[in-house]
Symmetry: C2
Subunit: 215 residues, 2 copies
């Protein structure tokens, strides 16, 4: 949502139902029309609100779709399956399942593309999509460390570095496989990828290989 003025205590309040209807209509339109052919007028009609109402709440198509898509990724959960491998595999498959939905893939990449020229939009994406899901990496990592599957803290000076790296690798690989290569992210692929990732994480921290292994 946009910054609802906090001092706004008087006057008619904004309809929360309208917000939900608009976001749902946006996702519906993404399925039917895709990003490029999606028009705000059409979304307004689907939601049963006036076009002007839409413009009063969102600055434009970009912001609207970010909010509509962001809700999809809140479904993600870290399944406590007892092992790091199973945890990662589970998240990868969940993530892929969301990306398989047309409203997600059609909208997400488009706003990411737009965000390359719009700093505010990119911040919005990071806040409402990316950083929210980074918790999965942090939590899965903590669990693995508690189980002894990963060493406690490989680099105390930059604890966030490793998390960011892992996140970019997981999210990047799944997105690339699903949307660019356009091949299925099935159990077979998820297992291969998970094996690769875990071996990379453990080996890099256990045995000191050729020279300095950056972390």
């Amino acid at each position: 949502m946009q910054s609802r003025s906090p001092a706004s205590r008087t006057g008619r309040p904004r309809s929360a139902a309208a917000d939900a209807a608009i976001l749902a209509a946006t996702r519906e339109a993404l399925v039917d029309l895709g990003w490029s052919k999606l028009t705000l007028g059409d979304v307004a009609t689907r939601a049963g609100v006036a076009k002007t109402t839409l413009y009063r709440r969102w600055a434009g198509k970009n912001e609207l779709v970010v909010d509509a898509v962001a809700e999809l990724f809140d479904e993600l959960e870290l399944p406590d399956s007892g092992s790091l491998a199973a945890d990662i595999e589970g998240v990868v498959l969940q993530f892929a399942a969301i990306l398989a939905r047309p409203e997600a893939k059609s909208g997400l990449m488009a706003v990411v593309a737009e965000s390359t020229r719009d700093e505010a939009l990119r911040a919005r994406i990071r806040e409402s999509v990316v950083d929210r899901q980074k918790r999965l990496v942090v939590e899965g990592r903590a669990r693995a460390q508690a189980r002894g599957e990963l060493p406690p803290e490989p680099d105390p000076s930059h604890p966030a570095r490793t998390v960011d790296l892992i996140f970019d690798v997981i999210a990047g690989a799944v997105v690339h496989r699903a949307l660019v290569s356009a091949e299925p992210v099935d159990t077979t692929w998820a297992r291969s990828f998970t094996a690769l990732l875990i071996d990379g994480m453990t080996a890099a921290t256990t045995h000191s290989r050729s020279g300095q292994v950056a972390q």
Copy 2:
């Protein structure tokens, strides 16, 4: 380019200079305006051709931008640096350098987004961008195998599986780091990522076929 009718041997030939001018103008417009505000009329003006000429050669904005962006990625080369780690690191940095250019990041993600609803467009992207660069993985892998850094053939039944996996991981991670996380792909990051990837590749192949690491 589009399918130039092969039986077209008579009549005035198409100007090759116009093709180059149009593609250059497209990249220029991507820098100045970005994907969403780029119009074909503007590109035509910049290229010094009529708008109708543009429509005679490309079906629309999507196809035009794919061709304009594809040329950028042909610069990629595999630096024979003597070690697998250095090879990967070099390619990652080259790839990141291209992605840092506004005409690349603004255009590439947009056409990928569009390709989620356009099968023909996705095929075009794969042909002219993705699959062309997959050679880097194949070649780097062969070199590493010749050096003994990687075992000969981990999975003879599906030789392309591993290459595809590696490619998705590399390309996906770099793109995600550069465009979504929007943090620099510098030497530090490239080195961390390379270490993670190599350890994952070597370990994954060793304990699947009980050989020892060539080290």
